[in-house]
Structures are given as C-alpha cells and as structure tokens.
C-alpha cells in the first residue's frame, strides 16, 4: 500500500504521467529492437544489440529520472552528476549483457539468467541513481521494499524475455512490452516506497518545481530522440529489407527473360483459382500457347534474337489479354494465360483469336525479321473441369489438336478431342514398340521396262502389321514416326533389310528405296546408306533412293550436300510423286537427279483425260531432254500401259504388272524370268 500512497502523495502527477509515457514508448521501441537481435547473426547482431541496449537503457534511465523529478520529498534536493551518468551507463551495459545471454538456445538460461541480468541492471540503475539524489533531510531505507523491488523486476524481466522468445518475429509485441514496462515501473515505485525522507526541522522545501519540470521535459526530449533514432533505424532497415524480400519474391515467381509469371507462379495461381471456383463458383478460362516455328529462329538468327522474340511475345500477350489476366511462361516457347471470370465459349474464342492474331504479326529486331505463328488450346472451368490437373490436361489436348490442324490457330477443348488424342497416343506407343522390335516388313513392287516387258528391278515398300490393329497404312504411321523422330531408325532398318534381300537378286536388277524428307535432312543419311551397302554387299550402282519434291523445299544446302555425297558414291536419286507437290523445274536442274517418277494420279486418268495425257507427255519429253529416266507408277490397265509405252516412259510399275509382294515371292518371280530367258 505504501507504494500507491507514495505515488499519490509524494509525486507531481504531471511529471509522473510524462515518465509513464516515456516508459511506454521506450518499451515498445525496445521490444522491436530486442526482437531484431534474436533474428540477426554475426556482427550485425552485436550492432543491433548495442542499438537496443542504448535505446532501452535511455528509456529506463529517462523514465527513472523524470519520475524522480516528479518526486516531492518536501525537502531541498540536489543531483550528483557523476552518479547520474554512471546510472545511465549501468542500464545500457546491463541490458546489452542480458540480451547477449538471452540469445542462448537454452530456455532456462536465456529467460532466468538473461532476464535476471536485465532486471538487476534496471535495479542497479535505479539505486545508483538514487545515490545521486541528495535530499537535505533524514533518509531512511526500508529493506523489505528494496528486496521486493528486486524480486519483482527480475520476475518481470524474465517474463519479458520469455514472451519475446514466444512472439518470435510476430507483429504483436504488446505482451513483452507491457511486461518490460512493468519491470521498470514496478521497480521504480517499489524502490521509491523503500525510500523515505524526513525533513530537517527548519529547512524549507525549495521552490524548484518549475525548474524541475523544465529539466524533466528536456530529459524526456533527449531520451525520445534516442528512442526515435533507434526505432527509425529499425524501420528504415526493415523497409529496405522488405524491399529486397519483395525483389526476391519477384525473382522467384517471374521469368527472368520475359518478366511474366513463371511456371511456379502459374501453377500456384491455377491452384488458387480452382479453390475459388469451389468456394465462390467463379469461372475462368485456361489458355495454353505454343509458338510454331520458333526453333528455326534460334537456329538461323541465333539465341539472342530468339530471346528478343520471346520478350516481344510476352509483351504482346500482355496486350492481348484483358486487364488482370495472368500471363505466364511455362516452358521454352510455351506460354499460358489464366483469364479470370471468363466463362462463355465465345469470349474465350475471342481472346484466343486475339492471341493468334497478335502473335502472328511480324517481329523485327536489330534489322532482322522473324515470322512465327501461335497455336492456342483453350479449356473452360468449370465446364471442362474443376481441378488444375484436368484443366491442364484438357487444354493440352486442345493445344495438341490445334497444332496438328491444317489451319493453325486455336481450339476449344471438346470431349471428342480426347478420344482422337487418346487414339493417337496409343498409336504412338505401338509404333515405338514396333520400332524397338524392328517389327516392320518390306514388300517389293517389281518394275519393268515398258518396251521389252523385262524386269528392271523393284521398289521396296514399308509395311507395318500391328498385332492389335492389323495392317496400318504408311500414310497413317509415317507422319507419326516423323514427328516422334523415329523415321531415321525405321528408314535405316528398311535400307539394311532391303539391301540384304536384293543382294540375292539377279545382278541386273535394281533396288529402289524411299527416303522421307526428315531422313534427308539427317546428316547421317549417307553413312547409313554406305553401311547398309557394305553389310549386304549390294553394289551402290544398283541402288536408287527415291525422294519427294517437298524434301527439296527450302533446305537447299543440307540436302544438296547429302545428295551430292550419295551421287559421288555411285548411288542414283529419283524424284517420286512428280507433279503433285511444289513442282519446280529448277529442282531438276539444280539437284543431281537421275529419274522422275510420274505420280499415279496422272497415270490413272490415262488415256481418257486430256490434261493428264499432256502432263505425262510433257514429263516424258522433259526427261528426254534432261537425260533422265522416266518411270510411270500405278499402271492398272492395258490402255495405260500402251499409252505409256508409246510416249517414251522407260519403266513402269503398277498392279497390272504386280502388286507389292514379299521378299520370298519376288525372288521367285525374278528367278523364273531369268531361267525363262536362259532357256
């Protein structure tokens, strides 16, 4: 009770209020700083410790000092300078020491030893400060209050450390701050209760109240400056830190090249949006975008140019989408858009169309021009799915369908696509398996001399009989094999087998093997051919490779090098399906071509169709003047045969002569003829 009566009767309450305010502000600031020291490490930690101790020490000291100025002992009072300064130093030093101890992992040591040191240093500060306070009267100390004050302040200080450890770096520091304030205030006023002054008779109380008030205000101001400095250091530093945290976050969630969201951010956003769909039913559309013919840009203009294109693509995408939609780069040349709140097919289609349009426009960088296109797959949530996995899968299927369509552009997901895609994926699996097991057969279609009717050789044709699907047409599986990159292997296998088969044919008969455009671009092709010839012992002069016009398109240099190498080895080249593709007479002139094969679409309309007849005639004449052999394919009737023979095609093949037959049968056919000739 003496504590309260002392507080009430012996203090100037205005000054006490000032001191309380001082204490509160000081404690809050100190706790922020204490918190920091718990999370830093190395030298920085000591710097923060110094700053904390300085701030907290000033706060405690100022609280005490101001409160003392508000104390009205009723006797004249003087202050000892040295001890007053010393008391401040004790506070700073003690708190620094206490904090350093409080950092230890061991909770007991941290709370009781660290907290204890802090508590005792508050007390030491107070009592040293009291010795500086000289009252002209009879001073008496009440030991029980002194002891009580020590116990209380140590208790509250330990509690402060304990709370602080619990709070971690949380925002709410009211509890530790309150407890620290309690440690200071309780000590002070209990300590003051322990202190009694009896005025000496005859000595008047000094009228120094005004001077004291001014002094109190000055001290409070200085102390607040110190606290303010400590706090603002902390805040400033926190701001730069949070800025750099933000920067780190930005780096973690954005694609460094294009500055749009990266795959991680996209996955996260999609997950969150699916969650919102569950809760609030907010629809959205997912678009995935794949750039067509982007790779050639890297290959021909270089990677820096490719990077600029990607940046422009990202930039254009941001223009094409609506405000707030998310654009992300989820792969090398793959982007995705989450269009929030969009649920009608029309709206989604319009957005996809904008994207296709804007990405299809020309790109220029450093004087170079690039043209690319984009395919877009679209799915809608919740119409097509409600979870990220399904949506991504369906969008992917739509994209896959869009990429394979004749007319590039966008596709909205439909369930039928799933079936088609599924079918194709299964075909891919079977084809891979067949390729691994070399599960292909070769059929041979004989070729005869149109004038004599004698065999001149045969064309090797690839056949695939899948155990599950039966016969699969080459037109169906070859494009798939090309896309999967299996064609070179399959082609090599065909070459090898065919050469081995043909090695046992009579010596005047030739072998023709088809080479796909993809194979022709493979620089290893000549090596593969030479190897097949060497392994089988089949002479190069009897081998003819059939290429198509499309293969010659736009890849001049590589193809020219390959063809020349093959020709130099004695192998002949023929141009297959002539007249159906981008026929350009300049090919015939430029590339080392020995033979033209007239496509069966012309032959089959003979002799009735005048157009086809004149084309066949023209090609035959062309062959003569360029000194190339001419073969007519797809002969089915005697009339066709007669027309062809008359117009000077050298060789013919077709059902009229023979269907494609397997290796055993063709050798029988050849041997029969040879023996007939011998007879």
């Amino acid at each position: 009770m003496r504590v309260l009566t002392c507080l009430y009767h012996e203090h100037n309450l205005w000054i006490v209020a000032l001191s309380a305010l001082m204490c509160l502000v000081g404690c809050l600031a100190s706790m922020k700083l204490f918190q920091r020291t718990f999370f830093e490490s190395g030298t920085v930690r000591f710097q923060w410790c110094f700053l904390s101790a300085f701030t907290a020490g000033s706060a405690i000291w100022a609280t005490h000092f101001i409160a003392m100025l508000g104390y009205r002992p009723g006797v004249p009072v003087t202050l000892g300078g040295t001890l007053t300064v010393l008391s401040a130093l004790i506070a700073v030093g003690g708190i620094a020491l206490g904090l350093m101890v409080a950092w230890t992992r061991n909770r007991f040591i941290s709370v009781f030893t660290g907290g204890g040191i802090i508590g005792l240093s508050i007390a030491a500060m107070h009592y040293v400060g009291m010795f500086a306070y000289r009252a002209d009267g009879i001073v008496r100390w009440l030991p029980e209050y002194v002891i009580a004050s020590l116990i209380l302040t140590v208790g509250f200080s330990a509690l402060t450390i304990d709370r602080l450890r619990k709070t971690g770096d949380g925002k709410n520091i009211l509890l530790p701050a309150g407890s620290f304030a309690a440690a200071i205030v309780v000590l002070h006023f209990t300590g003051m209760a322990a202190f009694t002054v009896t005025p000496l008779p005859g000595v008047q109380a000094g009228a120094d109240s005004d001077a004291f008030l001014a002094l109190a205000a000055a001290v409070a101001m200085v102390a607040l400056f110190i606290i303010g400095a400590g706090l603002s250091t902390h805040l400033l530093e926190r701001r730069t830190k949070s800025k750099s945290d933000e920067r780190l976050r930005h780096i973690a969630l954005h694609d460094a090249l294009t500055e749009v969201a990266n795959r991680r951010a996209f996955t996260e956003a999609l997950r969150i949006e699916c969650g919102k769909l569950d809760k609030f039913g907010r629809p959205f559309a997912l678009l995935m975008i794949d750039l067509d013919s982007f790779k050639p840009i890297n290959d021909t203009l270089g990677h820096p140019a490719g990077d600029i294109v990607l940046q422009k693509v990202a930039w254009r995408l941001r223009h094409a989408v609506r405000r707030g939609d998310m654009v992300a780069r989820i792969g090398g040349d793959e982007f995705a858009v989450i269009a929030y709140g969009l649920n009608s097919e029309d709206e989604a289609a319009a957005l996809a169309a904008r994207i296709v349009e804007i990405l299809g426009r020309p790109y220029i960088m450093q004087g170079q021009v690039a043209e690319i296109g984009a395919s877009v797959g679209v799915s809608l949530a919740p119409d097509h799915g409600c979870d990220p996995g399904t949506l991504v899968q369906y969008t992917d299927i739509a994209l896959y369908t869009a990429k394979r369509a004749d007319e590039r552009g966008y596709r909205l997901f439909e369930l039928t696509m799933q079936e088609a895609t599924q079918r194709r994926r299964l075909l891919e699996v079977d084809l891979r398996r067949a390729c691994m097991r070399e599960d292909f057969q070769i059929a041979y279609q004989p070729v005869i001399d149109s004038a004599t009717g004698a065999f001149t050789g045969a064309e090797a044709l690839l056949r695939w009989t899948c155990p599950k699907r039966g016969n699969v047409q080459p037109s169906e599986f070859i494009p798939v094999a090309e896309e999967l990159g299996l064609i070179s292997r399959i082609g090599a296998m065909v070459l090898k087998k065919a050469c081995i088969d043909a090695a046992s044919w009579p010596g005047h008969l030739d072998l023709a093997v088809n080479i796909s455009p993809v194979q022709l671009l493979d620089p290893r092709l000549p090596q593969t051919v030479f190897q097949a010839l060497e392994d089988s012992g089949f002479p190069a002069a009897r081998l003819e490779l059939e290429i198509t016009e499309t293969a010659l398109l736009g890849n001049d240099e590589i193809v020219m090098r390959t063809l020349t190498e093959l020709r130099d080895f004695g192998i002949r080249i023929s141009l297959d399906d002539f007249g159906t593709g981008y026929s350009s007479l300049s090919y015939l002139h430029r590339f080392p071509i020995n033979r033209i094969k007239i496509d069966k679409s012309f032959v089959q309309q003979l002799p009735a169709d005048a157009g086809s007849a004149s084309i066949v005639r023209a090609i035959a004449q062309l062959g003569q003047s360029l000194q190339m052999k001419i073969t007519a394919e797809g002969i089915e009737t005697d009339e066709q045969m007669a027309f062809i023979a008359e117009h000077g095609c050298d060789d013919v093949q077709g059902f009229l002569i023979s269907r494609p037959i397997d290796a055993d049968k063709i050798i029988g056919l050849f041997q029969r003829e040879t023996s007939k000739a011998a007879a």
Partner: protein, 152 residues
C-alpha cells in the same frame, strides 16, 4: 547509337495492314483519323518520320528513323488491335530520310479526296505488293504534289 558506323544510320520500313472493321464501329473514317493523329504525335516524340496512306480499307505505312525507334514503333503498331493482317513488306537501312519533316504525313481516299488522288493511292497499293522501293518513292512524290496542292 548504332553498333556499326556505316553511313546507313536509319531504318526504313514499309508495311500494309487492314483496318479492323469490327473494332471501329460506325465511323471508320473517325478511327482512321485518330490513328493517324496518334501516330504523328507519337512519332514526334520518337524522332520518326514517314507517311501513312489509307486506301480501300488498307493502310500502307512507311516509318523511318533510328533503328531502335523504328523497331519500337513497329512493335507498338503490332500491339494495336484496330487493324489486322499486318504484313511487313520491306525493312532496309538507309543513309538519309526520305520524309524529313513529316512525322506522319496522312493521305486517305475518303469522300473529300479528289479522283486523281484516289487513283494514285490505288496505284501505290498495287505497287506495295510488287515493288516496295518503287512504292516508297511514289508515296514520296505523291506527298509533294498533294501538299503543294493543299497549300495553294
């Protein structure tokens, strides 16, 4: 500014595009005029010169200036949804500007223009498809004739 120090310090590009009828609502002429004004305004800031023709719903534009500015402007143009079917016809380095003083001269075949101008514009439209440099020169001389006439 350029990496190389040849005298060909400017880029000049020629492209064509079509006004997107759906975007411009009731008043295509109004939209076209706004595009032309915006372009001239922007080009003043970017040290670009050139000319913009609008004929039969088709834009034919020449842009010339420092390489990076031309590229930036073209990127802006490619981000504009008021037109479609953007076709880059020609992009070359040149030593001097052909349209010095014109931030974006604008000519169109609207109701106000004379028959002769309309014919000339159509000829340029045809030329742009077959001979870019000839089309460029024609645009330049058209500008001389036309501005002389309008000043008179």
């Amino acid at each position: 500014m350029n990496a190389y120090t040849s005298d060909k310090q400017f880029s000049r590009l020629l492209y064509t595009s079509a006004l997107d009828i759906e975007c411009c609502g009731e008043k295509p002429a109004e939209t076209v005029r706004r595009i032309a004004e915006g372009a001239a305004e922007q080009n003043r800031l970017s040290d670009l010169t050139g000319s913009l023709l609008f004929v039969n719903g088709v834009f034919i534009q020449i842009l010339e200036g420092p390489q990076d500015e031309v590229e930036k402007a073209f990127e802006r143009i490619c981000c504009d949804f008021r037109h479609v079917d953007v076709r880059l016809i020609d992009l070359i380095n040149v030593s001097e500007r052909l349209f010095e003083g014109w931030n974006m001269a604008f000519l169109s075949d609207d109701e106000m223009s004379s028959l002769a101008l309309g014919d000339e514009l159509q000829e340029i439209q045809f030329l742009a498809g077959v001979n870019a440099s000839q089309a460029t020169l024609q645009m330049r001389s058209l500008l001389d004739n036309h501005s002389a006439a309008s000043k008179a």
